[in-house]
Symmetry: C2
Subunit: 203 residues, 2 copies
């Protein structure tokens, strides 16, 4: 594409390095931005440059925030007996949006994955232990909301065994089964087996 | 998401206004950028701010360029008898990437669409006429490579009739039929009808 202006090909290259954006999307985005007003371009450019401004990890749950403890950790209306362990702040957002969970969170910032060189030391695991084992800890139940894959399962199992050795707690895992709106016919075997095993008694 | 830092929600909002980027993709992109180095952020931010730098329309084919006439128009190796009419510079890129076409282009910057208030006056139609009807014009054939939809067809037909009234030329349209790798079984009726009508004799 040496016939295209350098400023355009440069932005296309920059955009292509982003997750989920292939060559075609990058092109479409760049040409969309070309047609945008200068104010719009300036605003997006600044937002990118400033995204880290004042962003820190909450000293309690390790989600991203501008003040520690974060709004969720310092909310007196939340159930301090429930601790939901998630991989990332994105997962926390997804759960928080449902409005269903009123406990607190703990963000691991990843999951145990020996192949990628990620062990408990690379994650907020020590901080989780400190939080759970501290003298006055009000935590009653730990809910693992990790991704339902090999690493997520391994991480949950590892943490449960280590924590159970230290303190008596209720441990749970978010349910696995068919997503809402799915077809039994098209579900894969692993999902169907989990759905059967996790079947719930109708009252 | 009032528990998220303002700089993050602001970038998510900015990203969401881009075509093809929904709330979830915007979130994922923002969190990806959060983890990026400052050099990377600065580089993307600058690329966005500078995309229009020096970009102009070629005075001949009206594609985007930094020097007029553009590289394609000033390439003496190209066939000046063939003129391919496209809607946008993105379409030009797609065709150019194939390496199949060695003529010149004319970018209309849209297509005739009365419902959207776009008539020939809003497009580079007068410029196309000037190019085709100028005394020494070497153009022999005009190939319409417009999108295969109602407005694209209307635009091609309109231009063909107007141009044919002024000069004797060969007019053609890029073929319509099944895309490579598609299934006859799953093709829609309109596509199959076009594929049958446009069938090609095997030698």
């Amino acid at each position: 594409m040496d016939f295209l202006p350098e400023s355009i090909t440069h932005l296309i290259e920059e955009l292509q390095t982003l997750p989920g954006i292939g060559p075609k999307s990058a092109q479409r985005l760049a040409f969309h931005l070309l047609k945008s007003g200068d104010a719009r371009l300036g605003s997006l450019s600044e937002a990118v440059a400033n995204i880290k401004n004042g962003v820190i990890e909450c000293g309690c749950c390790f989600s991203l925030t501008t003040a520690s403890p974060c709004k969720i950790c310092s909310d007196s209306g939340r159930d301090r007996g429930l601790l939901c362990v998630v991989e990332s702040t994105l997962d926390l957002i997804a759960l928080e949006k449902t409005g269903e969970f009123r406990g607190l969170y703990h963000v691991l910032h990843g999951k145990i994955s020996p192949l990628d060189g990620v062990g408990p030391e690379q994650l907020r695991v020590a901080e989780l232990f400190a939080r759970v084992t501290v003298e006055a800890s009000p935590i009653v139940e730990i809910i693992f909301a990790l991704n339902p894959d090999l690493e997520g399962d391994t991480t949950a199992l590892f943490l449960q065994q280590k924590l159970a050795a230290v303190r008596s707690l209720i441990f749970s895992r978010i349910a696995r089964g068919l997503p809402s709106g799915a077809n039994v016919e098209y579900a894969d075997d692993a999902t169907l087996i989990r759905a059967l095993q996790g079947r719930q008694r109708m009252s």
